[in-house]
Amino acid sequence: MTGVDVLLLALGAVAVGSAALVVGTRHLVRAGLYLVVCLGAVAGMYLVLAAELVAWVQVLIYVGAVVVLLLFAVMLTRAPIGASDDLDRPGWPAALIGGGAGLGLAALLVDAYRWTTVDLPAAGNAERIGEQVFSNWVLPFEVLSVLLLSALVGAIVLSRPDIGATRDDATGDRGRSR
């Protein structure tokens, strides 16, 4: 048990614990905040695993954007600040399947890797990852740009019901208010 292992164990415990709170809490807003803790802990694990680029992207995109979006959504759907009683369905099937999935997967991974050790790769590989992305993985990168563009347009068109909702039939032009 090296220091790295202790660190990973601690961060893992934080991540799993806060994740349990995310899916267990009765406070909508707190769920979002616990999610931040969980994602942060995972980002910490990335750092330990010498994937600092992924770690920073995680912090920037997930904590910075996704969670903020989620919290916005919580607010926009007029969620109460206090505890809510109606967030959950009956839990047994979910607990059974979720627990089965998690523990089963864990057992498989434990079985596969046991208590082996591996060397940590050297830190500071952002440049090499960049090279990889822009040499071998340009194709999905470019395709992903289409995905992002369509997500952008899609989100706008859904959130703005006025787009295309009315139309001046005489001219065929759409009276849109952009």
């Binding site: 997967l105 498989l108 991974l109 079985d111 596969a112 440049e127 090499r128 090279e131 822009f134 040499s135 071998n136 993985w137 340009v138 194709l139 999905p140 395709v143 992903l144 289409v146 995905l147 563009l149 369509s150 997500a151 347009v153 899609g154 989100a155 706008i156 068109v157 859904l158 019901p161 787009i163 295309g164 909702a165 009315t166 139309r167 039939d169 065929g172 032009d173 759409r174 849109r176």
Partner: protein
């Protein structure tokens, strides 16, 4: 690290269809912004779809082109089959655009965004057919699907549409996550991401015996089975199809389903060991067709009937892949992949025709309605009714819908060639169950109208043309199915 590694020789000719598709999307957005006339936007999108199809055909007619290669493994392999998929997706987009005419004219839908999203989805389909590694494959599947979340929810003011979008989104995201988990575990086990490399790595007995490998393969297959709406991952499909605008439902059950099939085919063919996928897919296929057919028997809403029937059809598509485990014969395997793809091609043709028929018989912008709304429709619109009846009969796999008949024949032949006689019998019995509801729907078209007098609407011209073209093509491949069989075999 030398600088040269950053500059990779990219075969832009191979990428031409993808460029055309993505270019269509951007162009549509620009035209919508600058010209701001719905007709111009639609025409741009349609032209782009045609250009993509032509581009795919031209590039595909040459030798296979590979690019983004690392050693022997390539991320993008554009051969005959990829060209077929790309051209098919582009043509389906064209067909769906034609079906969208009444919807867009009804004025509730933002034309530019609608066309843009369709074009984005088309880009995903084009790349998907050529994807050679897991990342590209999954990203392409997402590009194909993500615009559809939005399109499904685009029936303004309809609660069913909004609900359908949420259902589709949640299920689809979870499915993607399952696929991703499977891919991640595969990477953890093998260290490979390219499909063909995975195939060679997983041929190793030691890796294959690892339970983790089996779980990873199962997860990938299960995640993609969601996309083709195979039982037990099918519950979203009828609700989503029924809530979505009709042309989008047509797209979901043709191009989107085709995408799922192609993705599944790609991983099963190149990457995953058939010892694991074979039995899995055999069971899934048998369940899918049986459940889909039995539930379809009881549907009263047109689109739900088509949705459940398309669940059942997914079972027929997957069936040949289920026979893989039993045969070590390379020819039989190739025949099985070809049979699955051939069935998919015949199916999307007939399904598009069926949806075109339904769109033509319904008021502009309406949803699918109940089956009773179609009662006696063929007496009011003989040609449209005949087209719809032809498509339904074809889906049932009977003459005069020879395309559907040959599709079933192809599947049964490959199953018996692969030694899966029991699955062939399941397919056969299911064809009988399927006939019961297809025949009911088709006969309803010719039934006396009774007291229900639906308003006689003139079908939009674009829809009628789409129906006519789909029917004629289905008739043509019905008499010359060898064209399709040659294309999928190449």
């Amino acid at each position: 690290m030398s600088d040269s590694s950053l500059v990779q020789a990219v075969d832009h000719v191979a990428l031409l269809p993808a460029y055309l598709a993505a270019g269509t999307a951007v162009l549509v957005l620009l035209v919508d912004l600058l010209v701001a006339r719905p007709l111009a936007t639609v025409v741009t999108a349609a032209t782009g779809a045609v250009a993509t199809a032509v581009g795919a055909a031209v590039v595909g007619s040459g030798a296979e082109r590979r690019t983004f290669c690392v050693g022997p493994d390539c991320s993008y392999v554009f051969g005959g089959r990829a060209a077929l998929v790309a051209a098919l997706v582009a043509l389906l987009v064209l067909g769906v655009l034609a079906l969208s005419g009444p919807l867009l004219r009804a004025g509730n839908t933002p034309v530019g965004e609608y066309c843009f999203l369709l074009a984005c989805s088309m880009t995903g389909g084009v790349v998907l057919g050529a994807a050679g590694d897991l990342i590209t494959l999954i990203v392409a599947v997402e590009v194909l699907t993500l615009p559809l979340y939005v399109l499904v929810g685009l029936r303004r003011g309809s609660l069913a549409s909004a609900e359908a979008a949420v259902t589709f989104f949640v299920v689809s995201v979870v499915a993607t996550t399952l696929t991703l988990l499977g891919a991640a575990l595969l990477y953890a086990v093998t260290g490979g991401l390219h499909l063909e490399r995975l195939g060679t790595l997983l041929a190793d007995e030691a890796l294959l015996d690892l339970p983790l490998t089996t779980v990873a393969v199962t997860l990938v297959v299960a995640g993609l089975a969601f996309k083709v709406a195979a039982v037990p991952f099918h519950a979203w499909a009828p609700a989503t199809y029924d809530g979505a605008p009709l042309p989008v439902a047509a797209y979901l059950s043709t191009a989107s389903k085709l995408g799922g099939v192609i993705a599944l085919l790609a991983v099963v063919r190149h990457a995953l060991p058939s010892e694991v996928t074979g039995p899995l897919l055999a069971v899934v296929a048998a369940l899918t067709m049986t459940v889909g057919n039995l539930v379809a028997l009881r549907q009263r809403r047109t689109v739900r009937l088509l949705a459940w029937s398309s669940v059942a059809q997914a079972g027929y598509i997957l069936a040949p892949l289920g026979a893989l485990a039993l045969t070590a014969d390379a020819d039989a395997r190739t025949a099985a992949y070809a049979a699955a793809l051939a069935y998919a091609v015949f199916f999307v043709l007939l399904e598009l025709a069926a949806f075109a028929g339904v769109v033509a018989l319904r008021p502009a912008g309406a949803d699918g309605g109940s089956l009773d709304d179609l009662r006696g429709a063929a007496r009011r619109h003989p040609w449209v009714g005949a087209g719809l009846a032809f498509a339904l009969i074809g889906l049932a796999g009977l003459p005069p819908g020879l395309a559907g008949l040959f599709a079933k024949v192809t599947v049964v032949r490959s199953l018996l060639g692969g030694g899966a006689g029991w699955l062939a019998l399941v397919v056969a019995i299911n064809a009988v169950i399927g006939l019961a509801y297809y025949l009911r729907a088709a006969a309803l078209l010719y039934a006396p109208a009774g007291e229900v007098t639906a308003p006689a609407v003139r079908p939009a011209r674009a829809v009628a043309v789409a129906l006519a073209v789909a029917t004629v093509v289905a008739l043509a491949v019905g008499f010359a199915p060898q064209i399709v069989l040659d294309l999928v075999g190449s």
